[in-house]
């Protein structure tokens, strides 16, 4: 829509109506912004910030079988931090998060690059993007269990391998293993990489890449010195999303590891079901601090806010 057609559009508004609201136009711009973001701020404060503060407080409370009592004791935290399982579970989650982040970053970057710079028709690009996005709109639970008949002992993948005479026996490690957990995460979360990275890439002026080429840069040099630095925001945002999704998961690990791996949140959810709120809250607090440090570290690399909000 051009400025001209906007102007024509405005002329269709009767001039009598045009004048009515004129005195209102002089609201202070800062105030207008404040009014516009106020509902968001209110909801986030009441439903996110306050509840978070609440469980931070509860983590210091005392409890027994019948209820919880206000107190200030560090036992919940101390107990958690001195149990060897805590460290083991955190390391295991971190391992999953790091591996999944590496794989989704590789896939997400290459696919975004392909879609943004190699696909010539805008319509085809939109269609291919959608093909990537549609599975994301199906329930994560169903996408997780979809792997079970695929990877199982008599599953589609084993049948295919044996049908092609690549293997003679069904592979056992495919399902209910770390392998299955990682595959499922990659399946669930690659789109979280593709979205932000493609958004960053599509803002790159192609003239910059031509300039690099004209100055004698090789493909690889253009990639390393032009494209990757300019897509840092997308990479950081995508990494944050993937990392935190993996750290906060409890369903995939439970379903796909066959009980061999634990996740941070599954321990927490057991405690909540047993109504042991203070230790659950302590667990939650440590996870929040851990995630906050990780995210802050990734945010340091790039000013996500400056890049997103001009």
């Amino acid at each position: 829509m051009s400025v001209r057609s906007a102007a024509t559009l405005l002329q269709t508004i009767p001039s009598s109506r045009r004048r009515i609201a004129l005195p209102l136009r002089r609201l202070r711009p800062g105030l207008v912004s404040w009014l516009q973001v106020a509902p968001l701020a209110l909801i986030l404060l009441v439903l996110f910030a306050l509840p978070t503060l609440l469980f931070l407080v509860v983590s210091f409370f005392d409890y027994d079988r019948t209820g919880i009592y206000p107190a200030f004791m560090l036992d919940n935290c101390r107990e958690l931090l001195t149990t060897p399982t805590t460290l083991r579970v955190y390391l295991s989650s971190l391992k999953f998060a790091a591996i999944v982040r590496a794989i989704t970053l590789f896939l997400g970057f290459d696919i975004s690059y392909f879609l943004v710079f190699h696909i010539r028709s805008a319509t085809l690009r939109a269609v291919l993007f959608l093909l990537c996005a549609i599975p994301f709109w199906t329930s994560g639970i169903i996408r997780t269990i979809a792997w079970i008949p695929f990877l199982g002992r008599n599953g589609a993948f084993n049948q295919l391998l044996m049908g092609l005479h690549i293997t003679t026996k069904p592979l056992e490690f495919l399902l209910f293993s770390d392998f299955a957990v990682i595959i499922t995460y990659v399946h669930l979360f690659t789109l979280l990489m593709i979205g932000p990275i493609a958004n960053s890439l599509s803002k790159i002026d192609p003239a910059l890449m031509e300039a690099a080429r004209d100055s004698g840069a090789s493909r690889w040099q253009t990639m390393v010195n032009v494209v990757i630095p300019l897509s840092k925001t997308g990479i950081a945002l995508g990494s944050i999303l993937v990392f935190t999704q993996v750290m906060g998961d409890y369903f995939v690990v439970k379903q796909m590891s066959g009980g061999q791996s634990a996740s941070i949140v599954s321990a927490l959810s057991t405690e909540i079901q047993a109504m042991q709120y203070p230790p659950a809250a302590a667990n939650a607090m440590i996870l929040v601090i851990f995630v906050a440090i990780l995210v802050a570290g990734m945010m340091r690399v790039v000013d996500v806010r400056k890049e997103l909000v001009k």
Partner: protein, 280 residues
């Protein structure tokens, strides 16, 4: 790598390598899904894995009958109502906030990071906090209070991020033109800004709808006594395994496809009407 390719350029080898990778990725993305679509037509004596023992639509019929473990039709309509409500609220609030964020205002940094924190917070913890809050206040958790709130802490930051991308491509000179022609702030919003942003706004609506419709980690501790569809599915998984689950998956995907298809059609027609010459 020659910038955005134009017609007639010779394709570099990287094009073929990346195209191959993309094809494999699509296979990876859809392969397991296709398996469950096929298995949802499993015969009455068949199980959750291959081989197929005949074919039937019995598992689809199963969805419609309230079972012992799960009542799919009722939870489905609950999920639908909640998702519509969440989607509506998310659109209004995140569009307003997206417009508000175009200026720097005192506290804009804090609010931005609050939204990011709300997005990356492990989902179960959000539900845990809200559930605790309700307990302290002596309130009963309920679908349309605590669960609605818990889902908004997830859909609103998402809507906001989408709005950033949408607003970023918005040319402010259109608004200035409206000002110069004497439009009031309200007329400018209704006749210029919102119509131009409409495709992005539809994206927020559909995105928020599906995020809510599929949500379980934030909802599970805030839902009270009446489950939504994902929670019923969750209960089904832990109790039994039958191809009914796959039938639900097939139906959900079909509904998603219809919804996305309809939205695309609307966006496509909108753009065609606006830009009759340049449209493809």
């Amino acid at each position: 790598m020659s910038g955005r390719a134009t017609k007639g350029d010779k394709r570099p080898w990287t094009f073929y390598a990346l195209a191959g990778l993309f094809g494999l990725f699509l296979l990876f993305l859809y392969g397991p899904m296709v398996v469950i679509y096929v298995l949802s037509f499993q015969g009455p004596d068949g199980g959750v894995t291959f081989p197929m023992v005949g074919t039937s639509v019995g598992w689809f019929r199963n969805i419609l009958e309230p079972g012992q473990m799960a009542n799919i039709p009722v939870s489905f309509s609950r999920s639908l109502e909640l998702a519509l409500l969440v989607s509506g609220i998310t659109v209004v609030i995140s569009v307003a906030a997206g417009l508000g964020f175009r200026r720097r205002f005192p506290g804009s940094g804090v609010l931005f990071y609050l939204a990011i924190a709300s997005l990356v917070m492990p989902s179960l913890l959000v539900g845990f906090g809200i559930g605790l809050g309700f307990q302290f206040l002596g309130l009963q958790t309920n679908l349309f209070t605590s669960a609605l709130g818990a889902q908004l802490t997830w859909t609103l930051p998402f809507g906001l991020l989408v709005m950033f991308a949408v607003v970023d491509r918005f040319n402010r000179s259109w608004e200035e033109a409206a000002n110069d022609l004497g439009a009031s702030a309200w007329q400018r919003l209704v006749h210029v800004t919102l119509p131009i942003l409409l495709p992005g706004i539809l994206g927020v609506a559909v995105g928020a709808f599906t995020l809510s419709y599929d949500e379980y980690a934030r909802t599970t501790l805030t839902i009270g006594t009446k489950n939504t569809l994902p929670l019923e599915i969750y209960a089904l998984i832990s109790s039994s395994s039958s191809p009914t689950l796959f039938a639900i998956g097939t139906v959900t995907t079909a509904v998603s496809f219809l919804l996305i298809g309809a939205t695309l059609l609307v966006i496509f027609r909108m753009q065609r009407r606006r830009n009759p010459i340049r449209s493809v």
